[in-house]
Protein backbone atom coordinates (compact mmCIF):
# COMPACT_ATOMS: atom_id res chain seq x y z
CA UNK A 1 0.00 0.00 0.00
CA UNK A 2 2.97 2.24 -0.41
CA UNK A 3 2.54 3.04 -4.08
CA UNK A 4 2.47 6.55 -5.32
CA UNK A 5 -1.26 6.68 -5.86
CA UNK A 6 -1.96 5.86 -2.25
CA UNK A 7 0.48 8.46 -1.00
CA UNK A 8 -1.28 11.16 -2.90
CA UNK A 9 -4.83 10.03 -2.30
CA UNK A 10 -4.91 8.60 1.22
CA UNK A 11 -4.36 10.49 4.44
CA UNK A 12 -1.15 9.72 6.36
CA UNK A 13 -1.39 6.83 8.78
CA UNK A 14 -4.00 4.74 7.00
CA UNK A 15 -1.39 2.31 5.76
CA UNK A 16 -3.14 -0.77 7.12
CA UNK A 17 -6.67 0.04 6.12
CA UNK A 18 -7.56 -1.10 2.65
CA UNK A 19 -9.04 1.63 0.54
CA UNK A 20 -12.83 1.49 0.29
CA UNK A 21 -14.23 0.98 -3.17
CA UNK A 22 -14.71 4.39 -4.81
CA UNK A 23 -18.22 5.73 -5.01
CA UNK A 24 -20.25 4.34 -7.85
CA UNK A 25 -18.78 0.86 -7.71
CA UNK A 26 -21.10 -2.04 -6.94
CA UNK A 27 -19.98 -5.23 -5.29
CA UNK A 28 -17.56 -7.13 -7.52
CA UNK A 29 -17.37 -4.44 -10.20
CA UNK A 30 -13.97 -3.60 -11.61
CA UNK A 31 -15.33 -0.55 -13.40
CA UNK A 32 -17.98 1.91 -12.37
CA UNK A 33 -20.96 2.61 -14.58
CA UNK A 34 -19.73 6.18 -15.09
CA UNK A 35 -16.29 5.01 -16.16
CA UNK A 36 -17.72 2.38 -18.50
CA UNK A 37 -20.01 4.92 -20.17
CA UNK A 38 -17.15 7.42 -20.47
CA UNK A 39 -14.92 4.86 -22.15
CA UNK A 40 -17.73 3.73 -24.42
CA UNK A 41 -18.53 7.32 -25.34
CA UNK A 42 -14.91 8.10 -26.15
CA UNK A 43 -14.60 4.91 -28.20
CA UNK A 44 -17.67 5.84 -30.21
CA UNK A 45 -16.34 9.35 -30.72
CA UNK A 46 -13.03 7.95 -31.89
CA UNK A 47 -14.80 5.61 -34.26
CA UNK A 48 -16.87 8.47 -35.69
CA UNK A 49 -13.69 10.52 -36.15
CA UNK A 50 -11.93 7.64 -37.89
CA UNK A 51 -14.91 7.13 -40.22
CA UNK A 52 -14.47 10.72 -41.37
CA UNK A 53 -10.69 11.06 -41.36
CA UNK A 54 -9.52 7.72 -42.77
CA UNK A 55 -11.46 7.88 -46.06
CA UNK A 56 -10.37 11.49 -46.54
CA UNK A 57 -6.71 10.62 -46.01
CA UNK A 58 -7.01 7.56 -48.24
CA UNK A 59 -8.63 9.72 -50.90
CA UNK A 60 -5.72 12.18 -50.76
CA UNK A 61 -2.92 9.60 -50.86
CA UNK A 62 -4.56 7.21 -53.33
CA UNK A 63 -2.69 8.56 -56.40
CA UNK A 64 0.57 7.23 -54.91
CA UNK A 65 -0.70 3.69 -55.48
CA UNK A 66 -2.31 4.19 -58.89
CA UNK A 67 -1.07 1.75 -61.49
CA UNK A 68 -0.27 3.82 -64.56
CA UNK A 69 -1.22 2.81 -68.08
CA UNK A 70 1.49 2.56 -70.72
CA UNK A 71 1.33 5.28 -73.34
CA UNK A 72 3.31 5.11 -76.57
CA UNK A 73 3.54 8.00 -78.96
CA UNK A 74 5.07 8.11 -82.42
CA UNK A 75 7.73 10.78 -82.75
CA UNK A 76 8.79 10.33 -86.36
CA UNK A 77 10.05 7.82 -88.96
CA UNK A 78 13.22 5.84 -88.20
CA UNK A 79 15.01 7.68 -91.00
CA UNK A 80 14.72 10.92 -89.05
CA UNK A 81 17.20 9.82 -86.38
CA UNK A 82 20.95 9.22 -86.77
CA UNK A 83 23.62 7.91 -84.42
CA UNK A 84 25.77 11.04 -84.63
CA UNK A 85 23.50 13.52 -82.93
CA UNK A 86 20.30 13.80 -80.90
CA UNK A 87 17.05 15.12 -82.36
CA UNK A 88 14.57 16.74 -79.98
CA UNK A 89 11.06 15.32 -80.01
CA UNK A 90 8.06 16.65 -78.11
CA UNK A 91 5.41 14.26 -76.88
CA UNK A 92 2.64 14.11 -74.31
CA UNK A 93 3.60 12.60 -70.99
CA UNK A 94 0.39 13.44 -69.10
CA UNK A 95 -3.01 13.85 -70.73
CA UNK A 96 -5.43 16.63 -69.96
CA UNK A 97 -3.07 19.34 -68.72
CA UNK A 98 -2.23 20.97 -72.04
CA UNK A 99 1.30 22.27 -72.49
CA UNK A 100 2.24 21.33 -68.93
CA UNK A 101 1.79 17.64 -69.78
CA UNK A 102 4.24 17.73 -72.69
CA UNK A 103 7.90 16.93 -72.43
CA UNK A 104 10.92 16.88 -74.67
CA UNK A 105 13.22 13.92 -75.26
CA UNK A 106 16.42 13.71 -77.30
CA UNK A 107 16.44 10.69 -79.61
CA UNK A 108 19.26 9.01 -81.54
CA UNK A 109 19.88 5.66 -83.17
CA UNK A 110 21.73 2.95 -81.20
CA UNK A 111 25.51 2.68 -81.61
CA UNK A 112 27.01 -0.83 -81.83
CA UNK A 113 30.60 -0.09 -80.95
CA UNK A 114 31.97 0.17 -77.39
CA UNK A 115 31.29 1.77 -74.98
CA UNK A 116 27.72 2.00 -76.26
CA UNK A 117 27.13 -1.65 -77.26
CA UNK A 118 23.61 -0.87 -78.44
CA UNK A 119 21.49 -2.50 -81.11
CA UNK A 120 21.87 -0.25 -84.19
CA UNK A 121 18.21 -0.88 -85.01
CA UNK A 122 17.11 0.41 -81.62
CA UNK A 123 16.68 4.01 -80.55
CA UNK A 124 17.78 5.83 -77.42
CA UNK A 125 15.49 8.51 -75.97
CA UNK A 126 17.08 10.68 -73.29
CA UNK A 127 14.76 12.63 -71.01
CA UNK A 128 15.39 16.35 -70.73
CA UNK A 129 14.50 16.26 -67.04
CA UNK A 130 17.71 17.09 -65.17
CA UNK A 131 18.65 14.46 -62.59
CA UNK A 132 19.47 17.21 -60.12
CA UNK A 133 16.10 18.91 -59.48
CA UNK A 134 14.15 18.50 -62.68
CA UNK A 135 14.91 21.56 -64.80
CA UNK A 136 14.93 20.98 -68.58
CA UNK A 137 18.40 20.23 -69.98
CA UNK A 138 19.41 21.05 -73.52
CA UNK A 139 21.62 19.05 -75.87
CA UNK A 140 24.53 21.04 -77.29
CA UNK A 141 25.96 19.33 -80.35
CA UNK A 142 29.14 21.45 -80.41
CA UNK A 143 30.14 20.03 -77.02
CA UNK A 144 28.17 16.76 -77.43
CA UNK A 145 26.92 17.45 -73.92
CA UNK A 146 23.61 17.93 -72.15
CA UNK A 147 23.65 21.15 -70.14
CA UNK A 148 21.18 22.25 -67.47
CA UNK A 149 20.42 25.99 -67.17
CA UNK A 150 19.40 25.99 -63.50
CA UNK A 151 22.36 24.80 -61.46
CA UNK A 152 24.98 23.93 -64.06
CA UNK A 153 24.63 20.17 -64.40
CA UNK A 154 26.56 18.74 -67.38
CA UNK A 155 26.11 15.27 -68.92
CA UNK A 156 28.10 13.53 -71.65
CA UNK A 157 26.78 12.08 -74.90
CA UNK A 158 25.41 9.03 -73.07
CA UNK A 159 23.75 11.15 -70.40
CA UNK A 160 26.31 10.35 -67.70
CA UNK A 161 27.16 13.13 -65.26
CA UNK A 162 30.44 14.87 -66.02
CA UNK A 163 29.89 18.06 -63.99
CA UNK A 164 27.68 19.93 -61.57
CA UNK A 165 25.30 18.68 -58.91
CA UNK A 166 23.25 15.90 -60.62
CA UNK A 167 23.28 12.63 -58.72
CA UNK A 168 22.78 10.16 -61.56
CA UNK A 169 22.66 10.01 -65.37
CA UNK A 170 19.72 11.44 -67.28
CA UNK A 171 16.53 9.37 -67.32
CA UNK A 172 15.48 7.58 -70.50
CA UNK A 173 12.26 6.58 -72.18
CA UNK A 174 11.57 3.12 -73.56
CA UNK A 175 11.50 3.09 -77.35
CA UNK A 176 10.17 0.74 -80.00
CA UNK A 177 9.64 0.79 -83.75
CA UNK A 178 6.13 0.25 -85.08
CA UNK A 179 5.54 0.38 -88.87
CA UNK A 180 8.71 2.39 -89.45
CA UNK A 181 7.79 4.91 -86.76
CA UNK A 182 9.85 5.41 -83.65
CA UNK A 183 7.65 5.38 -80.55
CA UNK A 184 8.57 6.54 -77.07
CA UNK A 185 6.97 5.02 -73.99
CA UNK A 186 7.38 4.90 -70.23
CA UNK A 187 10.18 6.66 -68.41
CA UNK A 188 12.89 4.77 -66.54
CA UNK A 189 15.96 5.82 -64.62
CA UNK A 190 19.47 4.41 -64.86
CA UNK A 191 22.33 3.79 -62.48
CA UNK A 192 25.73 5.37 -62.99
CA UNK A 193 26.57 2.25 -65.07
CA UNK A 194 23.44 2.88 -67.16
CA UNK A 195 21.62 -0.15 -65.72
CA UNK A 196 17.86 0.47 -65.97
CA UNK A 197 15.86 0.86 -62.76
CA UNK A 198 12.32 2.00 -62.07
CA UNK A 199 11.85 5.72 -62.64
CA UNK A 200 13.06 7.82 -59.74
CA UNK A 201 12.45 11.50 -59.13
CA UNK A 202 15.30 13.91 -59.78
CA UNK A 203 17.70 14.31 -56.90
CA UNK A 204 17.48 10.64 -55.91
CA UNK A 205 20.56 8.44 -56.26
CA UNK A 206 20.21 5.09 -58.01
CA UNK A 207 22.04 1.77 -57.75
CA UNK A 208 23.07 -0.37 -54.81
CA UNK A 209 21.78 0.69 -51.42
CA UNK A 210 20.30 3.86 -52.92
CA UNK A 211 17.56 1.74 -54.48
CA UNK A 212 16.44 1.06 -50.90
CA UNK A 213 16.94 4.54 -49.48
CA UNK A 214 14.91 5.90 -52.40
CA UNK A 215 12.43 3.06 -52.77
CA UNK A 216 10.62 2.43 -56.06
CA UNK A 217 7.13 3.86 -56.24
CA UNK A 218 4.11 1.78 -57.23
CA UNK A 219 2.88 4.44 -59.67
CA UNK A 220 5.93 4.05 -61.93
CA UNK A 221 6.60 1.43 -64.60
CA UNK A 222 8.91 -1.56 -64.12
CA UNK A 223 12.31 -0.96 -65.67
CA UNK A 224 12.89 -2.60 -69.06
CA UNK A 225 14.96 -5.76 -68.78
CA UNK A 226 17.34 -4.97 -71.63
CA UNK A 227 19.17 -1.69 -71.45
Amino acid sequence: MADAADKTNGSPGDGDISKPAPAGYFEGESMSRRKALTVAGQALGGLAGAVIVLPAVGFAVAPIFDKPEEQWESVGPTSRFTDSTYKPVVFTLVDGVGEAGKTTAFVRRGIAKAPFNEDPNSFVAISTRCAHLGCPVNYVQAARNFICPCHGGVYDFQGKVIGGPPVRPLDRFQTRVVKGQVQVGPRYSVTSQLQPVRARDPGEFTGGVWNVIYPPRPDTFPAPSGG
Binding site: A60, V61, P63, I64, D66, P68, L93, V94, D95, G96, V97, G98, A100, G101, L133, G134, C135, P136, C150, A199, R200, D201, P202, G203, E204, I213, Y214, P215, R217, D219, T220
Partner: protein, 279 residues
Protein backbone atom coordinates in the same frame (compact mmCIF):
# COMPACT_ATOMS: atom_id res chain seq x y z
CA UNK B 1 -73.63 67.76 -14.43
CA UNK B 2 -70.15 66.78 -15.28
CA UNK B 3 -67.96 65.51 -12.44
CA UNK B 4 -64.19 65.64 -12.78
CA UNK B 5 -62.57 62.23 -13.15
CA UNK B 6 -60.41 61.29 -10.17
CA UNK B 7 -56.75 61.42 -10.95
CA UNK B 8 -56.19 57.75 -9.99
CA UNK B 9 -58.78 56.56 -12.50
CA UNK B 10 -57.32 58.51 -15.37
CA UNK B 11 -55.22 56.61 -17.85
CA UNK B 12 -51.68 57.18 -16.65
CA UNK B 13 -49.48 59.08 -19.02
CA UNK B 14 -46.54 57.15 -20.52
CA UNK B 15 -43.30 57.58 -18.66
CA UNK B 16 -41.33 60.40 -20.19
CA UNK B 17 -44.41 61.72 -21.94
CA UNK B 18 -44.24 64.92 -19.87
CA UNK B 19 -42.10 67.79 -21.02
CA UNK B 20 -38.57 66.75 -19.96
CA UNK B 21 -38.60 63.30 -21.65
CA UNK B 22 -36.18 62.22 -24.33
CA UNK B 23 -37.38 62.84 -27.84
CA UNK B 24 -37.12 60.40 -30.71
CA UNK B 25 -33.72 61.83 -31.60
CA UNK B 26 -32.41 60.99 -28.15
CA UNK B 27 -33.91 57.49 -28.37
CA UNK B 28 -32.19 56.99 -31.70
CA UNK B 29 -28.89 58.06 -30.23
CA UNK B 30 -29.20 55.38 -27.59
CA UNK B 31 -29.74 52.55 -30.10
CA UNK B 32 -26.07 51.56 -30.40
CA UNK B 33 -25.62 51.40 -26.65
CA UNK B 34 -28.83 49.42 -26.31
CA UNK B 35 -27.69 47.02 -29.00
CA UNK B 36 -24.32 46.47 -27.34
CA UNK B 37 -26.10 45.98 -24.04
CA UNK B 38 -28.50 43.49 -25.59
CA UNK B 39 -25.61 41.48 -27.03
CA UNK B 40 -23.53 41.64 -23.86
CA UNK B 41 -26.45 40.51 -21.72
CA UNK B 42 -26.70 37.36 -23.80
CA UNK B 43 -23.01 36.60 -24.53
CA UNK B 44 -20.95 38.16 -21.76
CA UNK B 45 -18.63 39.23 -24.57
CA UNK B 46 -17.90 42.67 -23.15
CA UNK B 47 -15.96 41.38 -20.16
CA UNK B 48 -13.97 39.13 -22.49
CA UNK B 49 -13.21 42.03 -24.81
CA UNK B 50 -12.29 44.47 -22.05
CA UNK B 51 -10.15 41.79 -20.42
CA UNK B 52 -8.31 41.29 -23.66
CA UNK B 53 -8.02 44.89 -24.81
CA UNK B 54 -7.31 46.54 -21.45
CA UNK B 55 -4.92 43.90 -20.15
CA UNK B 56 -1.82 45.13 -18.36
CA UNK B 57 1.42 45.31 -20.27
CA UNK B 58 4.84 45.61 -18.68
CA UNK B 59 6.80 48.85 -18.53
CA UNK B 60 9.14 49.30 -21.43
CA UNK B 61 6.72 47.91 -23.99
CA UNK B 62 7.75 49.51 -27.26
CA UNK B 63 7.24 49.45 -31.01
CA UNK B 64 9.02 46.10 -31.37
CA UNK B 65 6.06 44.55 -29.57
CA UNK B 66 3.80 45.42 -32.51
CA UNK B 67 5.49 43.03 -34.94
CA UNK B 68 3.14 40.20 -34.03
CA UNK B 69 0.09 42.37 -34.64
CA UNK B 70 1.66 43.52 -37.89
CA UNK B 71 2.04 39.89 -38.96
CA UNK B 72 -1.58 39.25 -38.05
CA UNK B 73 -2.58 42.25 -40.13
CA UNK B 74 -0.56 40.91 -43.07
CA UNK B 75 -2.38 37.58 -42.71
CA UNK B 76 -5.75 39.33 -42.69
CA UNK B 77 -4.77 41.17 -45.89
CA UNK B 78 -3.75 37.86 -47.48
CA UNK B 79 -6.96 36.16 -46.43
CA UNK B 80 -9.15 38.99 -47.68
CA UNK B 81 -7.45 39.49 -51.02
CA UNK B 82 -7.20 35.72 -51.45
CA UNK B 83 -10.95 35.29 -51.10
CA UNK B 84 -11.57 37.84 -53.83
CA UNK B 85 -8.85 36.47 -56.12
CA UNK B 86 -10.58 33.08 -55.85
CA UNK B 87 -13.65 34.64 -57.48
CA UNK B 88 -11.78 34.91 -60.79
CA UNK B 89 -9.22 32.12 -60.55
CA UNK B 90 -9.66 28.77 -62.27
CA UNK B 91 -7.39 26.05 -60.85
CA UNK B 92 -7.16 23.87 -63.94
CA UNK B 93 -3.90 23.33 -65.77
CA UNK B 94 -5.33 24.59 -69.04
CA UNK B 95 -7.27 27.58 -67.65
CA UNK B 96 -5.16 28.83 -64.73
CA UNK B 97 -2.75 31.02 -66.68
CA UNK B 98 -5.57 32.49 -68.76
CA UNK B 99 -7.67 33.28 -65.72
CA UNK B 100 -4.74 35.03 -64.06
CA UNK B 101 -4.06 37.08 -67.21
CA UNK B 102 -7.73 38.02 -67.39
CA UNK B 103 -7.78 38.91 -63.69
CA UNK B 104 -4.64 41.02 -63.99
CA UNK B 105 -5.32 42.79 -67.28
CA UNK B 106 -9.09 43.04 -67.66
CA UNK B 107 -10.74 42.99 -64.26
CA UNK B 108 -11.27 46.38 -62.57
CA UNK B 109 -8.56 46.78 -59.88
CA UNK B 110 -7.51 43.17 -60.55
CA UNK B 111 -3.85 44.01 -60.84
CA UNK B 112 -4.03 45.93 -57.57
CA UNK B 113 -5.71 43.14 -55.60
CA UNK B 114 -3.36 40.54 -57.05
CA UNK B 115 -0.42 42.80 -56.30
CA UNK B 116 -1.53 43.15 -52.69
CA UNK B 117 -1.68 39.36 -52.40
CA UNK B 118 1.66 38.84 -54.12
CA UNK B 119 3.64 41.50 -52.26
CA UNK B 120 1.70 40.92 -49.05
CA UNK B 121 2.99 37.35 -49.06
CA UNK B 122 6.59 38.59 -48.95
CA UNK B 123 5.70 41.20 -46.34
CA UNK B 124 4.13 38.54 -44.15
CA UNK B 125 7.22 36.32 -44.30
CA UNK B 126 9.50 39.25 -43.49
CA UNK B 127 7.30 40.33 -40.56
CA UNK B 128 7.21 36.79 -39.19
CA UNK B 129 11.00 36.65 -39.16
CA UNK B 130 11.24 40.06 -37.49
CA UNK B 131 8.63 39.01 -34.92
CA UNK B 132 10.57 35.82 -34.27
CA UNK B 133 13.85 37.75 -33.98
CA UNK B 134 12.23 40.13 -31.45
CA UNK B 135 11.00 37.17 -29.40
CA UNK B 136 14.43 35.56 -29.50
CA UNK B 137 16.48 38.66 -28.74
CA UNK B 138 14.17 39.77 -25.91
CA UNK B 139 14.18 36.27 -24.44
CA UNK B 140 10.39 36.25 -24.64
CA UNK B 141 10.37 32.54 -25.53
CA UNK B 142 11.42 31.55 -21.99
CA UNK B 143 9.21 30.06 -19.27
CA UNK B 144 6.22 30.16 -19.25
CA UNK B 145 5.98 31.05 -22.94
CA UNK B 146 7.78 28.06 -24.53
CA UNK B 147 4.58 26.61 -25.94
CA UNK B 148 3.81 29.89 -27.68
CA UNK B 149 7.24 29.74 -29.32
CA UNK B 150 6.47 26.22 -30.54
CA UNK B 151 3.11 27.32 -31.93
CA UNK B 152 4.85 30.25 -33.59
CA UNK B 153 7.35 27.96 -35.28
CA UNK B 154 4.51 25.80 -36.61
CA UNK B 155 2.85 28.98 -37.90
CA UNK B 156 6.11 29.94 -39.62
CA UNK B 157 6.28 26.54 -41.32
CA UNK B 158 2.63 26.76 -42.38
CA UNK B 159 3.26 30.21 -43.83
CA UNK B 160 6.16 28.77 -45.80
CA UNK B 161 3.80 26.06 -47.07
CA UNK B 162 1.45 28.86 -48.15
CA UNK B 163 4.30 30.48 -50.04
CA UNK B 164 5.26 27.21 -51.74
CA UNK B 165 1.73 26.23 -52.76
CA UNK B 166 0.75 29.77 -53.76
CA UNK B 167 3.77 30.15 -56.01
CA UNK B 168 2.41 27.54 -58.43
CA UNK B 169 -1.03 29.10 -58.86
CA UNK B 170 -0.24 31.78 -61.51
CA UNK B 171 0.95 28.81 -63.57
CA UNK B 172 3.50 30.63 -65.69
CA UNK B 173 6.91 29.22 -66.56
CA UNK B 174 8.47 30.42 -63.34
CA UNK B 175 5.69 28.91 -61.22
CA UNK B 176 5.84 25.59 -63.00
CA UNK B 177 9.59 25.08 -62.84
CA UNK B 178 9.91 26.39 -59.30
CA UNK B 179 7.30 23.85 -58.23
CA UNK B 180 9.06 21.07 -60.14
CA UNK B 181 12.27 21.91 -58.30
CA UNK B 182 10.48 22.24 -54.93
CA UNK B 183 8.71 18.91 -55.38
CA UNK B 184 11.95 17.23 -56.33
CA UNK B 185 13.70 18.62 -53.28
CA UNK B 186 10.88 17.02 -51.25
CA UNK B 187 11.59 13.77 -53.07
CA UNK B 188 15.21 13.70 -51.94
CA UNK B 189 14.24 12.88 -48.34
CA UNK B 190 15.24 9.28 -47.64
CA UNK B 191 12.61 6.49 -47.56
CA UNK B 192 9.50 8.69 -47.35
CA UNK B 193 10.63 11.48 -49.69
CA UNK B 194 9.62 9.80 -52.97
CA UNK B 195 6.12 9.11 -51.62
CA UNK B 196 5.77 12.64 -50.26
CA UNK B 197 6.65 14.06 -53.66
CA UNK B 198 4.08 11.72 -55.24
CA UNK B 199 1.52 12.88 -52.71
CA UNK B 200 2.15 16.55 -53.53
CA UNK B 201 1.96 15.92 -57.29
CA UNK B 202 -0.86 13.38 -57.01
CA UNK B 203 1.19 11.02 -59.18
CA UNK B 204 4.63 10.33 -60.62
CA UNK B 205 4.59 13.37 -62.92
CA UNK B 206 3.05 16.81 -62.80
CA UNK B 207 -0.52 15.85 -63.61
CA UNK B 208 -4.11 16.88 -64.04
CA UNK B 209 -4.84 17.27 -60.34
CA UNK B 210 -1.53 18.70 -59.14
CA UNK B 211 -2.70 22.27 -59.54
CA UNK B 212 -6.08 21.74 -57.87
CA UNK B 213 -4.31 19.90 -55.06
CA UNK B 214 -1.99 22.84 -54.49
CA UNK B 215 -4.98 25.17 -54.70
CA UNK B 216 -6.92 23.20 -52.07
CA UNK B 217 -3.92 23.13 -49.74
CA UNK B 218 -3.29 26.82 -50.35
CA UNK B 219 -6.79 28.16 -49.79
CA UNK B 220 -8.54 25.62 -47.57
CA UNK B 221 -6.28 23.31 -45.61
CA UNK B 222 -3.43 25.53 -44.49
CA UNK B 223 -5.45 28.74 -43.89
CA UNK B 224 -7.75 26.78 -41.59
CA UNK B 225 -4.78 25.47 -39.64
CA UNK B 226 -3.22 28.94 -39.51
CA UNK B 227 -6.42 30.55 -38.20
CA UNK B 228 -6.77 27.89 -35.50
CA UNK B 229 -3.16 28.25 -34.43
CA UNK B 230 -3.31 32.07 -34.44
CA UNK B 231 -6.24 31.69 -32.06
CA UNK B 232 -4.16 29.51 -29.75
CA UNK B 233 -1.19 31.89 -30.10
CA UNK B 234 -3.29 34.92 -29.11
CA UNK B 235 -5.02 33.05 -26.30
CA UNK B 236 -1.64 32.30 -24.76
CA UNK B 237 -0.46 35.89 -25.24
CA UNK B 238 -3.52 37.19 -23.39
CA UNK B 239 -3.35 34.51 -20.72
CA UNK B 240 0.37 34.77 -20.00
CA UNK B 241 0.88 38.45 -20.76
CA UNK B 242 3.85 39.84 -22.63
CA UNK B 243 7.33 39.87 -21.18
CA UNK B 244 9.19 43.00 -20.18
CA UNK B 245 12.18 43.99 -22.28
CA UNK B 246 15.38 42.45 -20.96
CA UNK B 247 17.05 45.77 -20.14
CA UNK B 248 14.42 46.56 -17.52
CA UNK B 249 15.69 45.81 -14.03
CA UNK B 250 13.57 43.55 -11.87
CA UNK B 251 11.20 45.41 -9.58
CA UNK B 252 12.44 45.56 -5.96
CA UNK B 253 10.52 46.42 -2.83
CA UNK B 254 11.26 49.62 -0.93
CA UNK B 255 12.66 47.55 1.94
CA UNK B 256 15.14 45.87 -0.36
CA UNK B 257 16.11 49.22 -1.84
CA UNK B 258 16.70 50.75 1.59
CA UNK B 259 18.80 47.79 2.63
CA UNK B 260 20.83 48.06 -0.57
CA UNK B 261 21.33 51.76 0.01
CA UNK B 262 22.44 51.23 3.61
CA UNK B 263 24.92 48.51 2.77
CA UNK B 264 26.23 50.51 -0.18
CA UNK B 265 26.75 53.61 1.96
CA UNK B 266 28.41 51.50 4.64
CA UNK B 267 30.90 50.20 2.14
CA UNK B 268 31.36 53.69 0.77
CA UNK B 269 29.97 52.84 -2.62
CA UNK B 270 27.52 55.63 -3.40
CA UNK B 271 27.14 54.74 -7.05
CA UNK B 272 25.58 51.42 -6.14
CA UNK B 273 23.07 53.14 -3.91
CA UNK B 274 22.12 55.65 -6.58
CA UNK B 275 21.59 52.86 -9.07
CA UNK B 276 19.01 51.24 -6.84
CA UNK B 277 16.16 53.44 -7.98
CA UNK B 278 12.58 52.30 -8.04
CA UNK B 279 11.74 51.10 -11.51
Amino acid sequence: MKLPMPQALKKPSKPGADGNSAGPAQALREVPADLVGWLDERTGGASFLTGMLYRKVPKGTNWFYTLGSATLFAFVVQATTGVFLAMYYDPSATQAYGSISHLTNDVFLGEFVRGMHKWGASVMIILIWLHMARTYIFGAYKYPRELNWVIGVVLLILTMVMGFTGYLLPFDQRSFWATEVGNNITGTGPFLGPYLADFLRAGPEFGATTLSRFYAIHMLLVPGLIIALIGAHLYLVVKLGTSAPPWLEPKRSRATLRQEAVSATASGNGAEARRGRVT
